[in-house]
């Protein structure tokens, strides 16, 4: 038994395939009674739209390309990015639409650039979602120039506005710094992502601005940029704690680096809360299981991810990007007082 097509329904009802097609997509050209007959027949024979026919005819792919930058097999250190949750959030947002998530795993920035050019020029998808945006991101320019619908996870500083979702890094650092300063910290370290990433820049600027506001000097030795692995957190604690005037607080950009920072504490014999404290931005809600639990800014990844899905749908429907820009403020979770128990 073959899979039924609109032709089957046409024979079944005595109508033409054109009418059937129109009826199924609620064209005003077909009378309600006729439509009812078609719908009934469609259900009776178990009709399901064949996307391949549609795709060929219309040129639409009904695919949303999710570009995922994951380090290659040789370099698989944990970076605490719950890409999986990000992807499933997007996938769920598209659930009731005909669109599917098509995965493009790339190893680095250059590869993502190449892939995006290919998707755009060969129209392998109707929309693109990327993350890890840079301040001036050539991929965004590519997509923009081709007038291709896209949404970014992360901001950029292009003059042309585009749809994006991101955590409110500026506010997060501002609040975080104010809170630490208020608790007596004068030497605050910033463990930041790679310096070309847009959110790294945002965080750094907010950090400097906060220092300025508090009348504290900016010390480059207290700022580090790198891939946010546990190793990164550890190394930097080892280095910075050796300074003549070591930091009393570490702001980690994710919980992988925070975990590494703890490892550094352990190595140096530092006690959290006595010698220094660690604050982090937490995607996984895992810092509550650190020993001791630390203060974090927590943004359940389901929020940005479902927004990304919703926004790409709306972009593909032609909605202007200006309306599709959101900064989400992570929730402050104070698990620790973060005042040092004895001054140094």
């Amino acid at each position: 038994m073959q899979r039924p097509t609109i032709k089957t329904i046409a024979q079944e009802t005595g109508l033409s395939i054109a009418t059937v097609s129109k009826a199924l997509k609620h064209s005003p050209q077909v009378r309600p009674e006729t439509r009812a007959i078609v719908i009934e027949a469609a259900e009776r024979v178990g009709y399901e739209l064949n996307m391949h026919g549609v795709q060929l005819r219309t040129g639409k792919t009904y695919q949303v390309a999710a570009i995922m930058t994951a380090p290659g097999p040789k370099q698989n250190e944990w970076e605490g990015v719950e890409y999986a949750q990000l992807l499933s959030g997007i996938s769920w947002a598209l659930e009731d639409s005909p669109y599917r998530v098509s995965l493009y795993a790339v190893r680095n920035f250059e590869e993502s650039q190449a892939i995006i050019k290919q998707i755009v020029s060969l129209k392998k998808a109707d929309g693109i979602i990327i993350s890890g945006t840079r301040a001036d991101d050539p991929r965004i320019r590519t997509m923009h120039a081709a007038d291709f619908p896209f949404v970014t996870y992360g901001t950029s500083v292009h003059n042309a506005p585009h749809a994006y979702v991101d955590a409110d890094n500026e506010q997060m650092i501002r609040v975080s710094m104010a809170r630490l300063v208020e608790r007596g910290h004068r030497r605050i370290a910033l463990l930041n992502p790679l310096s070309d990433l847009s959110y790294g820049i945002t965080r750094l600027e907010a950090y400097r601005h906060a220092l300025e506001g508090a009348g504290l000097p900016f010390d480059p030795a207290l700022v580090a940029h790198g891939r946010l692995t546990p190793a990164f957190g550890r190394e930097n604690v080892l280095t910075m704690s050796d300074l003549s005037n070591p930091p009393t607080a570490y702001i980690c950009a994710n919980e992988a680096s925070a975990l590494g920072a703890f490892s550094g504490f352990h190595e140096r014999g530092l006690v959290h809360g006595r010698d220094a404290v660690i604050n982090a931005t937490d995607d996984l809600n895992v810092s509550q299981y650190f020993a001791p639990p630390i203060t974090t800014y927590y943004l359940p990844i389901s929020e940005p991810s479902s927004l990304l899905g919703a926004y790409i749908l709306r972009r593909m429907e032609g909605e202007p990007p200006e309306a599709l820009q959101t900064l989400l403020m992570p929730k402050l979770i104070e698990r620790c007082d973060d005042r040092l128990t004895q001054s140094r």
Copy 2:
């Protein structure tokens, strides 16, 4: 300027589209010289195969469905599963093929069952990759009955053989237990995944078998089943350490639960290496940053994932499943002696 098709090449070369099509796919029906002309023209005009035409004509989708069970937005606790790396590994394995990974995020087992039925009956993909297999898995039966190509990440005990990749849980537990017993442990706790999961059963059986071999009694109070979150690890340490005869070693099925176990140690004032030790199975290579680092069995997720990709390709080409079954033995990484420093 329109995108070139085989028709463009036909006009360009004066050949028929049939010949062009055959030439491009290396049919023996076309002379080498003719083929050369076609290839040259194709490159000159920048021809790229349009998959939609192929899909409609052949009925093949060139999609591999990856079913990813991620807990819903309300329940997003870290389970230490690097799905993202799994997905990218699969994606890279398909890189040089015409196949793409199409993502299907589901919230639970029932949903995955429904999705798979749909994919199979409506032929929305040419192959399926699933994980989280159960001992007797209805999804496997569905795919098997329809003679649909699939590979599982995880074993099952069906009579009909199927393609799978998994960690060698049996051997891992056997070696792990022998090692702990040798180091003087008599009360060993097993923190296991949900009891309906196939690998949970394998681990439990191997555990009981090892106890028997060592002449130790099986105590149900030392075995727990659950979602492998930090909370799970923590709760069980809290409970088990209160036993009149508490365990001196905890075998955790992943590093999320191991992290939680540490949190439990901290809460109870237990010291790792003095009161008890934690061993784990590690996907992320993150346990080296625990304080102190613990002994783990480490399997870089890139290995199983690239195998999954390779196997689904071969299955879709009709290779029998018997040849596509692999158990991978994780590497023992001893970061800790695991002998208690003082007997109790």
